[in-house]
Amino acid sequence: MNAEEVLEVFRKTLAEVEERDFSQITGASSLADLEVDSVAMMEVIGCIEDDLDIVIPDDAFTGAERVSDVVAAILAHLPG
Protein backbone atom coordinates (compact mmCIF):
# COMPACT_ATOMS: atom_id res chain seq x y z
CA MET A 1 0.00 0.00 0.00
CA ASN A 2 1.27 3.47 -0.78
CA ALA A 3 0.50 6.80 0.89
CA GLU A 4 -2.27 7.65 -1.58
CA GLU A 5 -4.03 4.33 -0.93
CA VAL A 6 -3.75 4.76 2.83
CA LEU A 7 -5.13 8.28 2.50
CA GLU A 8 -8.10 6.85 0.62
CA VAL A 9 -8.72 4.33 3.43
CA PHE A 10 -8.54 7.19 5.94
CA ARG A 11 -11.07 9.26 3.94
CA LYS A 12 -13.43 6.31 3.59
CA THR A 13 -13.30 5.40 7.28
CA LEU A 14 -13.75 9.01 8.40
CA ALA A 15 -16.85 9.18 6.21
CA GLU A 16 -18.16 5.92 7.65
CA VAL A 17 -17.74 6.98 11.28
CA GLU A 18 -18.71 10.64 10.95
CA GLU A 19 -21.31 10.21 8.20
CA ARG A 20 -19.91 13.22 6.33
CA ASP A 21 -17.98 13.69 3.14
CA PHE A 22 -14.19 13.74 3.47
CA SER A 23 -13.33 13.24 -0.19
CA GLN A 24 -11.70 16.67 -0.38
CA ILE A 25 -9.08 16.16 2.31
CA THR A 26 -5.44 15.83 1.35
CA GLY A 27 -2.24 15.03 3.20
CA ALA A 28 -1.80 18.74 3.84
CA SER A 29 -5.19 19.13 5.56
CA SER A 30 -4.89 19.99 9.22
CA LEU A 31 -6.44 17.46 11.60
CA ALA A 32 -8.05 20.24 13.65
CA ASP A 33 -9.91 21.45 10.55
CA LEU A 34 -11.53 18.03 10.10
CA GLU A 35 -13.59 18.73 13.23
CA VAL A 36 -13.48 15.12 14.35
CA ASP A 37 -13.29 14.86 18.13
CA SER A 38 -10.61 12.73 19.72
CA VAL A 39 -12.91 9.85 20.66
CA ALA A 40 -14.31 9.61 17.12
CA MET A 41 -10.73 9.65 15.84
CA MET A 42 -9.97 6.66 18.07
CA GLU A 43 -12.96 4.90 16.56
CA VAL A 44 -11.67 5.68 13.06
CA ILE A 45 -8.18 4.40 13.83
CA GLY A 46 -9.62 1.23 15.43
CA CYS A 47 -11.62 0.51 12.28
CA ILE A 48 -8.55 1.05 10.10
CA GLU A 49 -6.53 -1.31 12.28
CA ASP A 50 -9.19 -3.98 11.77
CA ASP A 51 -9.61 -3.38 8.06
CA LEU A 52 -5.87 -3.40 7.35
CA ASP A 53 -5.17 -6.08 9.95
CA ILE A 54 -2.52 -4.07 11.79
CA VAL A 55 -1.95 -2.86 15.34
CA ILE A 56 -0.93 0.74 15.89
CA PRO A 57 0.13 1.77 19.41
CA ASP A 58 -1.69 4.86 20.80
CA ASP A 59 1.48 6.90 20.97
CA ALA A 60 2.07 6.53 17.22
CA PHE A 61 -0.14 9.59 16.72
CA THR A 62 1.39 11.83 19.41
CA GLY A 63 2.06 15.24 17.94
CA ALA A 64 0.20 14.50 14.68
CA GLU A 65 -1.02 17.77 13.16
CA ARG A 66 -1.76 16.99 9.52
CA VAL A 67 -3.52 14.18 7.74
CA SER A 68 -0.14 13.18 6.27
CA ASP A 69 1.14 12.53 9.84
CA VAL A 70 -1.66 10.02 10.39
CA VAL A 71 -1.06 8.42 7.00
CA ALA A 72 2.65 8.12 7.78
CA ALA A 73 1.93 6.48 11.15
CA ILE A 74 -0.38 3.96 9.50
CA LEU A 75 2.15 3.25 6.70
CA ALA A 76 4.86 2.64 9.29
CA HIS A 77 2.80 -0.17 10.80
CA LEU A 78 1.90 -1.94 7.58
CA PRO A 79 3.74 -5.21 7.07
CA GLY A 80 6.53 -5.44 4.50
Binding site: E16, V17, D37, S38, V39, A40, M42, E43, G46, C47, D50, D51, T62
Partner: protein
Protein backbone atom coordinates in the same frame (compact mmCIF):
# COMPACT_ATOMS: atom_id res chain seq x y z
CA UNK B 1 12.86 23.29 38.43
CA UNK B 2 10.52 24.38 35.73
CA UNK B 3 10.86 27.63 33.84
CA UNK B 4 7.11 27.67 33.31
CA UNK B 5 5.25 30.86 34.08
CA UNK B 6 1.66 30.58 35.19
CA UNK B 7 -0.85 32.46 33.10
CA UNK B 8 -2.08 35.62 34.83
CA UNK B 9 -5.49 35.49 33.17
CA UNK B 10 -7.63 33.49 35.57
CA UNK B 11 -9.70 31.82 32.86
CA UNK B 12 -6.50 30.49 31.28
CA UNK B 13 -5.24 29.48 34.70
CA UNK B 14 -8.42 27.53 35.34
CA UNK B 15 -8.50 25.75 32.01
CA UNK B 16 -4.84 24.90 32.38
CA UNK B 17 -5.66 23.46 35.81
CA UNK B 18 -8.29 21.23 34.27
CA UNK B 19 -5.99 20.14 31.47
CA UNK B 20 -3.40 19.15 34.03
CA UNK B 21 -5.85 16.72 35.59
CA UNK B 22 -5.08 14.55 32.56
CA UNK B 23 -1.91 12.78 33.62
CA UNK B 24 -1.03 11.75 30.06
CA UNK B 25 -1.10 15.39 29.01
CA UNK B 26 0.83 16.55 32.06
CA UNK B 27 3.60 13.99 31.86
CA UNK B 28 3.63 13.47 28.11
CA UNK B 29 3.36 17.06 26.93
CA UNK B 30 3.41 19.71 29.63
CA UNK B 31 6.51 18.50 31.46
CA UNK B 32 8.76 18.03 28.41
CA UNK B 33 7.60 21.36 26.93
CA UNK B 34 8.36 23.19 30.15
CA UNK B 35 11.71 21.71 30.99
CA UNK B 36 10.64 19.74 34.05
CA UNK B 37 13.53 17.50 35.15
CA UNK B 38 12.57 14.00 33.91
CA UNK B 39 15.12 12.26 36.15
CA UNK B 40 13.48 13.41 39.38
CA UNK B 41 10.19 11.67 40.15
CA UNK B 42 9.02 14.50 42.38
CA UNK B 43 10.01 17.47 40.18
CA UNK B 44 6.76 17.31 38.23
CA UNK B 45 4.76 17.07 41.44
CA UNK B 46 6.34 20.29 42.70
CA UNK B 47 5.33 22.14 39.55
CA UNK B 48 1.86 20.61 39.72
CA UNK B 49 1.43 21.38 43.41
CA UNK B 50 2.46 25.00 42.91
CA UNK B 51 -0.09 25.47 40.19
CA UNK B 52 -2.85 23.86 42.20
CA UNK B 53 -2.15 26.06 45.25
CA UNK B 54 -2.42 29.11 43.07
CA UNK B 55 -5.68 27.88 41.57
CA UNK B 56 -7.17 27.20 44.97
CA UNK B 57 -6.05 30.56 46.29
CA UNK B 58 -7.79 32.22 43.33
CA UNK B 59 -11.06 30.81 44.72
CA UNK B 60 -11.92 29.61 41.25
CA UNK B 61 -11.13 25.96 41.49
CA UNK B 62 -14.19 24.39 43.08
CA UNK B 63 -12.98 20.82 43.24
CA UNK B 64 -12.59 18.98 46.51
CA UNK B 65 -13.60 21.63 49.04
CA UNK B 66 -14.51 19.98 52.33
CA UNK B 67 -18.19 19.66 53.18
CA UNK B 68 -18.64 20.21 56.91
CA UNK B 69 -22.32 19.39 57.33
CA UNK B 70 -24.73 16.53 56.77
CA UNK B 71 -25.13 15.65 53.09
CA UNK B 72 -28.31 16.88 51.45
CA UNK B 73 -29.69 19.57 49.16
CA UNK B 74 -28.16 22.23 51.41
CA UNK B 75 -24.62 21.90 52.78
CA UNK B 76 -21.88 23.88 54.45
CA UNK B 77 -18.59 24.14 52.56
CA UNK B 78 -15.37 25.14 54.27
CA UNK B 79 -13.33 27.62 52.27
CA UNK B 80 -9.51 27.78 52.34
CA UNK B 81 -9.59 30.62 54.91
CA UNK B 82 -11.77 28.56 57.28
CA UNK B 83 -14.95 30.47 56.46
CA UNK B 84 -18.06 28.29 56.13
CA UNK B 85 -20.50 28.96 53.34
CA UNK B 86 -24.00 27.58 52.91
CA UNK B 87 -24.57 26.18 49.42
CA UNK B 88 -27.42 24.55 47.54
CA UNK B 89 -25.92 21.29 46.36
CA UNK B 90 -26.13 20.36 42.68
CA UNK B 91 -23.02 18.19 42.56
CA UNK B 92 -23.85 15.14 44.69
CA UNK B 93 -24.96 11.80 43.25
CA UNK B 94 -26.91 10.97 46.41
CA UNK B 95 -30.03 11.42 44.25
CA UNK B 96 -32.51 10.04 46.80
CA UNK B 97 -30.93 11.51 49.93
CA UNK B 98 -30.40 8.05 51.42
CA UNK B 99 -26.98 8.86 52.86
CA UNK B 100 -28.68 11.01 55.50
CA UNK B 101 -31.77 8.83 55.93
CA UNK B 102 -32.49 8.09 59.64
CA UNK B 103 -33.53 4.50 58.91
CA UNK B 104 -30.20 3.80 57.19
CA UNK B 105 -28.36 5.28 60.17
CA UNK B 106 -30.43 3.17 62.57
CA UNK B 107 -29.59 0.03 60.57
CA UNK B 108 -25.89 0.78 60.81
CA UNK B 109 -26.10 1.48 64.56
CA UNK B 110 -27.89 -1.84 64.99
CA UNK B 111 -24.89 -3.85 63.78
CA UNK B 112 -21.82 -1.76 64.51
CA UNK B 113 -21.38 -3.18 68.03
CA UNK B 114 -21.38 -6.75 66.76
CA UNK B 115 -19.50 -6.34 63.51
CA UNK B 116 -17.05 -3.50 64.13
CA UNK B 117 -16.03 -1.05 61.46
CA UNK B 118 -13.49 -2.72 59.20
CA UNK B 119 -13.81 -6.01 57.35
CA UNK B 120 -10.30 -7.04 58.40
CA UNK B 121 -9.17 -8.48 55.08
CA UNK B 122 -10.06 -9.42 51.56
CA UNK B 123 -13.26 -11.39 51.17
CA UNK B 124 -11.41 -14.45 49.88
CA UNK B 125 -9.60 -14.45 53.22
CA UNK B 126 -11.73 -13.57 56.29
CA UNK B 127 -13.26 -10.27 55.18
CA UNK B 128 -16.53 -11.87 54.14
CA UNK B 129 -19.23 -11.45 56.79
CA UNK B 130 -22.73 -12.80 57.22
CA UNK B 131 -23.99 -9.31 56.39
CA UNK B 132 -22.10 -9.29 53.09
CA UNK B 133 -23.58 -12.69 52.28
CA UNK B 134 -27.12 -11.47 53.02
CA UNK B 135 -26.63 -8.42 50.84
CA UNK B 136 -25.37 -10.56 47.94
CA UNK B 137 -28.38 -12.85 48.28
CA UNK B 138 -30.69 -9.85 48.35
CA UNK B 139 -29.11 -8.26 45.28
CA UNK B 140 -29.43 -11.54 43.35
CA UNK B 141 -33.06 -12.05 44.35
CA UNK B 142 -34.19 -8.49 43.82
CA UNK B 143 -32.33 -8.01 40.53
CA UNK B 144 -33.70 -11.34 39.30
CA UNK B 145 -30.29 -13.00 38.84
CA UNK B 146 -28.70 -16.22 40.04
CA UNK B 147 -26.06 -14.66 42.27
CA UNK B 148 -24.52 -11.44 43.51
CA UNK B 149 -20.92 -10.47 44.23
CA UNK B 150 -19.68 -7.47 46.21
CA UNK B 151 -16.58 -5.43 45.38
CA UNK B 152 -14.87 -2.72 47.46
CA UNK B 153 -16.14 0.01 45.10
CA UNK B 154 -18.19 0.40 41.93
CA UNK B 155 -15.01 1.22 40.03
CA UNK B 156 -13.57 -2.11 41.17
CA UNK B 157 -16.72 -4.04 40.28
CA UNK B 158 -16.74 -2.84 36.70
CA UNK B 159 -13.03 -2.60 35.96
CA UNK B 160 -12.08 -5.86 37.64
CA UNK B 161 -14.93 -7.81 36.05
CA UNK B 162 -13.84 -6.76 32.57
CA UNK B 163 -10.16 -7.35 33.35
CA UNK B 164 -10.83 -10.81 34.83
CA UNK B 165 -13.16 -12.00 32.09
CA UNK B 166 -11.29 -10.80 29.00
CA UNK B 167 -7.81 -11.52 27.70
CA UNK B 168 -5.51 -10.65 24.78
CA UNK B 169 -7.48 -12.66 22.21
CA UNK B 170 -10.76 -11.01 23.14
CA UNK B 171 -12.42 -7.74 22.30
CA UNK B 172 -14.11 -5.22 24.54
CA UNK B 173 -16.47 -2.84 22.76
CA UNK B 174 -17.41 0.25 24.74
CA UNK B 175 -19.40 3.46 24.33
CA UNK B 176 -17.45 6.65 23.57
CA UNK B 177 -18.85 8.27 26.74
CA UNK B 178 -17.66 5.45 29.00
CA UNK B 179 -16.62 6.11 32.59
CA UNK B 180 -12.94 5.71 33.40
CA UNK B 181 -13.51 2.36 35.19
CA UNK B 182 -14.77 0.78 31.96
CA UNK B 183 -11.83 2.05 29.91
CA UNK B 184 -9.37 1.07 32.64
CA UNK B 185 -10.77 -2.46 32.97
CA UNK B 186 -10.83 -2.96 29.21
CA UNK B 187 -7.20 -1.83 28.88
CA UNK B 188 -6.05 -3.87 31.86
CA UNK B 189 -7.58 -7.01 30.37
CA UNK B 190 -5.14 -6.88 27.46
CA UNK B 191 -8.04 -7.31 25.03
CA UNK B 192 -8.41 -5.21 21.90
CA UNK B 193 -10.54 -2.20 22.88
CA UNK B 194 -12.92 -0.56 20.43
CA UNK B 195 -15.17 2.44 21.00
CA UNK B 196 -18.39 3.33 19.23
CA UNK B 197 -20.12 6.70 19.00
CA UNK B 198 -22.20 7.40 22.10
CA UNK B 199 -25.47 5.42 22.14
CA UNK B 200 -25.26 4.84 18.37
CA UNK B 201 -26.61 1.37 17.48
CA UNK B 202 -25.30 1.61 13.91
CA UNK B 203 -21.75 2.23 15.12
CA UNK B 204 -22.05 -0.51 17.72
CA UNK B 205 -23.06 -2.90 14.96
CA UNK B 206 -20.13 -1.77 12.78
CA UNK B 207 -17.77 -2.64 15.65
CA UNK B 208 -19.52 -5.95 16.35
CA UNK B 209 -19.31 -6.88 12.70
CA UNK B 210 -15.58 -6.11 12.47
CA UNK B 211 -14.99 -8.07 15.67
CA UNK B 212 -16.94 -11.04 14.44
CA UNK B 213 -15.22 -10.95 11.03
CA UNK B 214 -11.90 -11.24 12.83
CA UNK B 215 -13.29 -14.33 14.54
CA UNK B 216 -10.51 -14.38 17.10
CA UNK B 217 -11.68 -14.54 20.70
CA UNK B 218 -14.82 -13.57 22.57
CA UNK B 219 -16.59 -10.21 22.44
CA UNK B 220 -17.79 -8.27 25.49
CA UNK B 221 -19.88 -5.12 25.06
CA UNK B 222 -19.96 -2.82 28.09
CA UNK B 223 -22.33 0.13 28.33
CA UNK B 224 -23.72 2.29 31.11
CA UNK B 225 -27.44 2.23 31.86
CA UNK B 226 -27.56 6.01 32.27
CA UNK B 227 -25.01 8.60 31.19
CA UNK B 228 -25.07 11.38 33.73
CA UNK B 229 -23.05 13.83 31.63
CA UNK B 230 -24.91 13.25 28.39
CA UNK B 231 -28.28 13.20 30.16
CA UNK B 232 -29.46 10.10 28.29
CA UNK B 233 -29.88 6.36 28.76
CA UNK B 234 -28.50 3.48 26.69
CA UNK B 235 -31.02 2.13 24.13
CA UNK B 236 -30.66 -1.36 25.60
CA UNK B 237 -33.71 -2.63 23.74
CA UNK B 238 -31.87 -1.95 20.47
CA UNK B 239 -28.46 -3.08 21.71
CA UNK B 240 -29.53 -6.47 23.10
CA UNK B 241 -30.59 -8.02 19.76
CA UNK B 242 -27.40 -6.71 18.09
CA UNK B 243 -25.19 -8.18 20.80
CA UNK B 244 -26.96 -11.53 20.43
CA UNK B 245 -26.77 -11.43 16.64
CA UNK B 246 -22.97 -11.37 16.83
CA UNK B 247 -22.69 -13.85 19.69
CA UNK B 248 -21.27 -11.29 22.09
CA UNK B 249 -21.94 -10.76 25.81
CA UNK B 250 -23.40 -7.62 27.31
CA UNK B 251 -22.55 -6.00 30.63
CA UNK B 252 -24.41 -2.93 31.89
CA UNK B 253 -22.97 -0.56 34.49
CA UNK B 254 -26.01 0.84 36.29
CA UNK B 255 -24.05 3.36 38.42
CA UNK B 256 -26.16 6.43 37.62
CA UNK B 257 -29.33 4.49 36.79
CA UNK B 258 -29.86 2.89 40.21
CA UNK B 259 -32.47 4.78 42.20
CA UNK B 260 -33.38 6.81 39.13
CA UNK B 261 -34.73 4.33 36.54
CA UNK B 262 -36.99 1.29 36.70
CA UNK B 263 -40.15 0.59 38.68
CA UNK B 264 -38.14 -0.35 41.79
CA UNK B 265 -35.11 1.79 41.00
CA UNK B 266 -32.95 -1.09 39.78
CA UNK B 267 -31.80 0.81 36.72
CA UNK B 268 -32.00 0.83 32.94
CA UNK B 269 -32.22 -2.97 32.58
CA UNK B 270 -35.35 -2.95 34.73
CA UNK B 271 -36.64 0.11 32.87
CA UNK B 272 -36.50 -1.89 29.61
CA UNK B 273 -37.57 -5.19 31.22
CA UNK B 274 -34.40 -6.93 30.01
CA UNK B 275 -33.40 -8.77 33.21
CA UNK B 276 -33.22 -12.09 31.35
CA UNK B 277 -31.36 -10.74 28.32
CA UNK B 278 -28.40 -8.88 29.81
CA UNK B 279 -25.44 -11.09 30.79
CA UNK B 280 -24.01 -9.09 33.68
CA UNK B 281 -25.27 -6.11 35.63
CA UNK B 282 -22.88 -4.07 37.73
CA UNK B 283 -23.32 -1.03 39.89
CA UNK B 284 -22.28 1.06 42.82
CA UNK B 285 -23.71 1.86 46.22
CA UNK B 286 -21.96 5.23 46.14
CA UNK B 287 -24.66 7.19 44.35
CA UNK B 288 -28.40 6.64 44.97
CA UNK B 289 -27.74 4.11 47.70
CA UNK B 290 -25.85 6.74 49.65
CA UNK B 291 -22.89 4.65 50.82
CA UNK B 292 -19.91 3.06 49.10
CA UNK B 293 -19.12 -0.33 47.58
CA UNK B 294 -19.88 -2.04 44.30
CA UNK B 295 -21.52 -5.17 43.00
CA UNK B 296 -22.12 -7.44 40.04
CA UNK B 297 -25.14 -9.73 39.64
CA UNK B 298 -25.49 -12.56 37.12
CA UNK B 299 -24.74 -16.22 36.55
CA UNK B 300 -23.46 -18.02 39.71
CA UNK B 301 -20.55 -19.80 38.00
CA UNK B 302 -19.38 -16.57 36.39
CA UNK B 303 -19.49 -14.77 39.73
CA UNK B 304 -17.53 -17.56 41.37
CA UNK B 305 -14.88 -17.15 38.67
CA UNK B 306 -14.89 -13.40 39.26
CA UNK B 307 -14.67 -13.81 43.01
CA UNK B 308 -11.33 -15.60 42.78
CA UNK B 309 -9.89 -13.90 39.71
CA UNK B 310 -10.80 -10.24 40.28
CA UNK B 311 -7.64 -8.58 41.57
CA UNK B 312 -9.74 -5.86 43.21
CA UNK B 313 -11.46 -8.51 45.33
CA UNK B 314 -8.50 -10.71 46.11
CA UNK B 315 -6.01 -7.95 46.93
CA UNK B 316 -8.23 -5.40 48.67
CA UNK B 317 -10.22 -5.53 51.90
CA UNK B 318 -13.96 -5.94 51.59
CA UNK B 319 -15.97 -2.79 52.30
CA UNK B 320 -17.24 -2.50 55.89
CA UNK B 321 -19.99 -4.99 56.77
CA UNK B 322 -21.89 -2.27 58.66
CA UNK B 323 -22.16 -0.38 55.38
CA UNK B 324 -23.51 -3.52 53.70
CA UNK B 325 -26.24 -3.48 56.31
CA UNK B 326 -26.92 0.21 55.63
CA UNK B 327 -27.04 -0.48 51.90
CA UNK B 328 -29.51 -3.30 52.46
CA UNK B 329 -31.81 -0.87 54.28
CA UNK B 330 -31.25 1.74 51.56
CA UNK B 331 -32.33 -0.80 48.92
CA UNK B 332 -35.56 -1.41 50.86
CA UNK B 333 -36.23 2.32 51.05
CA UNK B 334 -35.42 2.78 47.36
CA UNK B 335 -37.67 -0.08 46.26
CA UNK B 336 -40.58 0.84 48.52
CA UNK B 337 -39.96 4.35 47.21
CA UNK B 338 -42.39 6.22 49.47
CA UNK B 339 -42.28 9.03 46.94
CA UNK B 340 -38.48 9.47 46.83
CA UNK B 341 -38.09 8.63 43.14
CA UNK B 342 -41.32 10.38 42.29
CA UNK B 343 -40.05 13.58 43.92
CA UNK B 344 -36.70 13.22 42.18
CA UNK B 345 -38.46 13.04 38.82
CA UNK B 346 -40.76 15.94 39.71
CA UNK B 347 -37.65 17.97 40.46
CA UNK B 348 -35.90 16.89 37.25
CA UNK B 349 -38.94 17.89 35.20
CA UNK B 350 -39.57 21.12 37.10
CA UNK B 351 -35.94 22.20 36.81
CA UNK B 352 -35.49 21.28 33.15
CA UNK B 353 -38.81 22.94 32.25
CA UNK B 354 -37.62 26.00 34.15
CA UNK B 355 -34.51 26.16 31.96
CA UNK B 356 -36.61 25.72 28.83
CA UNK B 357 -38.84 28.61 29.92
CA UNK B 358 -35.72 30.73 30.21
CA UNK B 359 -35.16 29.97 26.56
CA UNK B 360 -32.41 27.39 26.88
CA UNK B 361 -32.45 24.46 24.50
CA UNK B 362 -32.65 21.26 26.49
CA UNK B 363 -33.50 17.80 25.15
CA UNK B 364 -35.63 15.55 27.34
CA UNK B 365 -33.62 14.71 30.44
CA UNK B 366 -33.63 10.94 31.02
CA UNK B 367 -31.26 10.79 34.01
CA UNK B 368 -30.83 12.34 37.46
CA UNK B 369 -28.71 15.30 36.31
CA UNK B 370 -29.77 18.23 34.15
CA UNK B 371 -27.11 19.13 31.55
CA UNK B 372 -27.09 22.91 31.07
CA UNK B 373 -25.00 23.58 27.99
CA UNK B 374 -23.19 26.89 27.88
CA UNK B 375 -21.10 26.26 24.74
CA UNK B 376 -18.92 29.34 25.38
CA UNK B 377 -15.73 27.89 26.89
CA UNK B 378 -14.35 31.34 27.69
CA UNK B 379 -17.05 32.32 30.20
CA UNK B 380 -17.14 29.12 32.21
CA UNK B 381 -14.71 30.14 34.95
CA UNK B 382 -16.44 33.40 35.72
CA UNK B 383 -19.86 31.79 35.37
CA UNK B 384 -18.89 29.09 37.85
CA UNK B 385 -17.45 31.66 40.25
CA UNK B 386 -20.65 33.75 40.08
CA UNK B 387 -22.74 30.65 40.78
CA UNK B 388 -20.53 29.91 43.74
CA UNK B 389 -20.89 33.47 45.08
CA UNK B 390 -24.66 33.07 44.78
CA UNK B 391 -24.48 29.91 46.92
CA UNK B 392 -24.94 27.36 44.16
CA UNK B 393 -22.56 24.42 44.09
CA UNK B 394 -22.42 23.21 40.50
CA UNK B 395 -19.55 21.57 38.69
CA UNK B 396 -18.42 23.16 35.43
CA UNK B 397 -17.62 20.56 32.79
CA UNK B 398 -15.10 21.86 30.28
CA UNK B 399 -12.44 20.55 27.90
CA UNK B 400 -10.94 17.88 28.12
CA UNK B 401 -13.97 16.27 29.82
CA UNK B 402 -16.03 17.47 26.85
CA UNK B 403 -14.83 18.66 23.43
CA UNK B 404 -14.08 22.38 22.90
CA UNK B 405 -17.24 24.44 22.55
CA UNK B 406 -19.36 21.95 24.50
CA UNK B 407 -18.87 23.36 28.00
CA UNK B 408 -21.70 22.73 30.41
CA UNK B 409 -22.87 22.54 33.98
CA UNK B 410 -24.03 19.15 35.17
CA UNK B 411 -26.73 19.86 37.76
CA UNK B 412 -27.35 16.73 39.81
CA UNK B 413 -30.84 16.66 41.26
CA UNK B 414 -32.01 15.33 44.61
CA UNK B 415 -35.44 14.25 45.85
CA UNK B 416 -34.91 16.64 48.72
CA UNK B 417 -34.48 19.83 46.66
CA UNK B 418 -37.36 22.16 47.47
CA UNK B 419 -39.25 24.21 44.89
CA UNK B 420 -37.87 27.34 46.57
CA UNK B 421 -34.31 26.10 46.11
CA UNK B 422 -34.93 25.25 42.46
CA UNK B 423 -36.66 28.59 41.81
CA UNK B 424 -33.77 30.42 43.43
CA UNK B 425 -31.23 28.49 41.32
CA UNK B 426 -33.24 29.21 38.17
CA UNK B 427 -33.31 32.94 38.99
CA UNK B 428 -29.54 32.94 39.47
CA UNK B 429 -29.04 31.07 36.18
CA UNK B 430 -31.37 33.50 34.41
CA UNK B 431 -29.29 36.44 35.60
CA UNK B 432 -25.99 34.79 34.65
CA UNK B 433 -27.14 33.38 31.32
CA UNK B 434 -28.06 36.97 30.39
CA UNK B 435 -24.88 38.43 31.86
CA UNK B 436 -22.75 36.07 29.76
CA UNK B 437 -24.97 36.51 26.70
CA UNK B 438 -25.98 32.88 26.44
CA UNK B 439 -29.66 33.83 26.32
Amino acid sequence: MSDFELPTNRAELFSLGLKLLDKDYFIGQFCPENGVDPTDLFAKAEVFGGLMSELRASGRFLFGMPVVSKPGPKVLIEEPDGNQREMIMFASNDYLGLSAHPEVHAAIREVVENYGVGAGSSRVNVGYSGIHRSLEAKLAKHWGQEAGLLYPTGYDAISSTIAALCGPNDRVIIDASSHSCIIDGARRSGATVRMFRHNDAKRLEAQLKRASDKGEGAILVVVEGAYSMDGDIAPLDTFVPLVKKYGARLMVDEAHAIGVLGARGHGAVEHFGLEDEVDLIGGTFSKSLGATGGFVVGDAAVLSYLNYLSTRIVFSAAFPPILAHGVSKAIDLMEADGGLRERLWENIRYFSDGFRKLGLELPEVEVGAVPVRIHKDGVMVDFAADLYEAGIYAIPIVYPSVPHGRSMFRLAMQSGHTTEQLDYALSVFERLLKKYEIL
